[in-house]
């Protein structure tokens, strides 16, 4: 019997150990035998005799394997196995229903929106409910960070663009509404009117995307005509019987 056969016999008894633990046992035993053989070689033994003596000194590999197995409680393996099976079952059950798959997708979108919100073009590309074709605003774009609590929801306005849209100077803000708790449903009533207003009172009902597509996150494009000298547009909505006003500043460069 050589070193690798000895280790293989020990490892054949280690059923409760993970692959990593088994490899650690193998390495440790091989290192021990290497030390012993080297010591005998230093004493003048030839290689074959040194290996034979070392194997004899190591003892019965079956006994070592059985004793080693006893040191690793079965409970962990059983618990880990049960947890794995349960997890697979839960995941499989969740994914087996198209409703659940959709809800998981919605929740994921609502989380991603908080970290990496979509640009106006991405919002427009995802719109399935709009009355006219989307014409992008080409001009100056800037980050803004305006947050308002609406009950359990958060309205976040994160991007403002000012420029030409089909021959009209327009300001377009990108925003989203999501529940404070990731995965929670947006509770802001879908029938509530949201108005965007220029500084001269020109009003426009905003385009919204997601109100029907994703109940956990809405994307909004807030758009109003602007003129040189304007420094903001205004969002208005009703909440608990009162009109809430949010001024959205235009980029510092102003209206071109």
């Amino acid at each position: 019997m050589d070193r690798s056969e000895y280790c293989a016999q020990v490892l054949s008894h280690l059923r409760r150990l993970s692959r990593r633990e088994r490899e650690a046992v193998r390495a440790e035993l091989e290192e021990h035998m290497e030390d012993h053989i080297c010591a005998l070689l230093d004493l003048g033994y030839d290689a074959q005799l040194a290996e034979e003596r070392t194997m004899a000194a190591m003892g019965d590999p079956a006994e070592v394997g059985r004793e080693m197995e006893k040191q690793y409680p079965r409970g962990w393996n059983v618990a880990a196995g049960a947890a794995l099976i349960l997890s697979i079952f839960v995941i499989f059950s969740a994914l087996s229903s198209s409703y659940n798959r959709r809800m998981i997708g919605y929740a994921w979108e609502s989380v991603v929106c908080r970290v990496s919100p979509p640009e106006p073009e991405e919002i427009a590309a995802g719109m399935f409910y709009r009355q006219e074709p989307y014409i992008p605003v080409s001009g100056v774009r800037e980050k803004v960070d305006i947050q308002r609590n609406i009950g359990n929801d958060v309205l976040w306005i994160y991007r403002i663009t000012v420029g030409d849209q089909d021959g009209v100077q327009t300001a377009e803000a990108a925003a989203c509404i999501y529940d404070k708790i990731p995965g929670g449903l947006v509770s802001f009533p879908a029938f509530n009117e949201l108005l965007v207003e220029s500084q001269r009172g020109e009003q426009q009902v905003l385009c919204r995307q997601g109100a029907l597509a994703n109940p956990m996150m809405w994307n909004l494009l807030l758009r109003a005509p602007v003129r040189p000298g304007d420094d903001h547009i205004t969002l208005r909505y009703d909440w608990l019987g009162e009109t809430v006003t949010v001024d959205i500043p235009l980029p510092k460069e102003g209206v071109p």
Binding site: E28, H32, M68
Partner: protein
Amino acid sequence: MRKKQQIEHTPLLVLSLLAVEDMYGYQMILELARRSNRTFDMKEGTLYPVLHGLEQQGYVEAYRQEAPTGRVRKYYHLTKKGGEALRTESESWRRYSGAVDAVLRSSALGLA
């Protein structure tokens, strides 16, 4: 009847070795044979179930380090929990061996 000792003899000896310094397996075998004047000449492979058992119980912890031979080896270190177990079991063992010795001495006097 004496309460059963919680730690068997070999683990107790291993903990005792590690109380002095961190060691790897082969080093422990040599040191055990040297200190016991080769009385504890155990089968070397059986040391490892003992070490892994002590590790599972939290009495020792292991790390890899280069040995004086230049080869990297798995060293074992006595933990605080292991140190406390060693103190308790050493005291228990001394009482036990003292009692056996006392009985043997009184029997020897009777034979004389």
